[in-house]
């Protein structure tokens, strides 16, 4: 069993020796991962401070760009309901912060200025109540609160770029 794992080449399915194919993109999974990491690294380097971090962390949510407005809204509501559930039951944790980020990206894709403001505020309020790692995200939420129109433009441009063929 161990030898079969060792013989598997990176990116190959260990049982069939065929590359794992990402259903959304039709590309090999390990290639997708490398693209994503390179893109995230590049965004952090290219955009100074909170902007780069916001864009890099938005990349993983942007596959949703392909959905139409109604689907996008439904997904945003799902993230929103899951977030409120954790806030109301006192179980907010790192996953909640991920949901808030994701809902904020969805709201930016919907060009919903009020919702972007609400989510940024929720992120800022909660990041101070979790462990130190999330406290470090405070400048990102503050930046969105101060630049929500520009944030929406950046996220929409990034989504357009990623979805271009």
């Amino acid at each position: 069993m161990i030898s079969s794992f060792r013989s598997a080449k990176p990116g190959l399915n260990k049982f069939t020796s065929r590359p794992h194919i990402d259903r959304t993109t039709g590309c090999a999974g390990n290639v997708i991962l490398k693209f994503r990491h390179s893109l995230e690294r590049g965004l952090r380097e290219e955009f100074p401070g909170p902007q780069g971090e916001l864009l890099a962390t938005a990349v993983s949510s942007l596959h949703r760009h392909a959905f139409d407005g109604q689907q996008q809204r439904r997904l945003r509501d799902m993230d929103g309901a899951a977030t409120l559930y954790t806030l109301l039951t006192g179980t907010a944790d790192a996953a909640t912060m991920g949901l808030i980020r994701s809902a904020m990206v969805s709201s930016a894709l919907l060009a919903d200025m009020d919702a972007v403001l609400q989510w940024a505020q929720a992120g800022l309020t909660r990041c101070t109540q979790l462990d130190g790692k999330w406290l470090a995200t405070a400048p990102e939420w503050e930046w969105v609160l101060a630049n929500r129109g520009y944030y929406i433009e950046l996220v929409q441009d990034l989504a357009r770029f990623l979805n271009s063929k």
């Binding site: 439904r74 929103g80 309901a81 409120l84 109301l88 609400q118 505020q121 309020t125």
Partner: protein, 126 residues
């Protein structure tokens, strides 16, 4: 002495609070006091003795979940029923969840005034 039901609304957005207060008071059934800071909620509740709390989920100083925890930890105030307001979920999204999250009534800020009044009356009836 008034026989109107007293609602304490805590929302950081004064324009939203103003609209909700006006709409609810126009029904003739409710008397509404508004507060903008979650942290001020406990003191306001001790003074106003509300029949129901109307709580915004997202506020700068502490969110609806934090305020709920404060009230639930206070022996005097923990029985007050709560209706939450959210600007982050659409009206359709709340309809799909039958107006409830984690067992609490939640109303979208996009909802019509009648919907909110109906939810408040239903919650007050228990």
């Amino acid at each position: 002495m008034t026989d109107k039901r007293r609602i304490l609304m805590i929302d950081d957005d004064p324009s939203m609070s103003g609209i909700v207060k006006r709409n609810l008071e126009q029904t003739g059934t409710f008397e509404v006091r508004t507060e903008q800071r979650g942290a001020d909620g406990l003191q306001a509740a001790r003074e106003f003795r509300p029949d129901l709390l109307l709580l915004d989920m997202v506020m700068p100083d502490c969110d609806g979940g934090n305020v709920l925890a404060l009230f639930r930890n206070d022996d005097e105030l923990k029985q007050i029923p709560v209706v939450f307001l959210t600007g982050t979920i659409s009206e359709d999204g709340m309809d799909a969840r039958h107006g409830q999250i984690a067992g609490y009534p939640v109303v979208s800020k996009q909802a019509k005034p009648k919907t909110l009044a109906r939810q408040i009356e239903q919650t007050l009836r228990g």
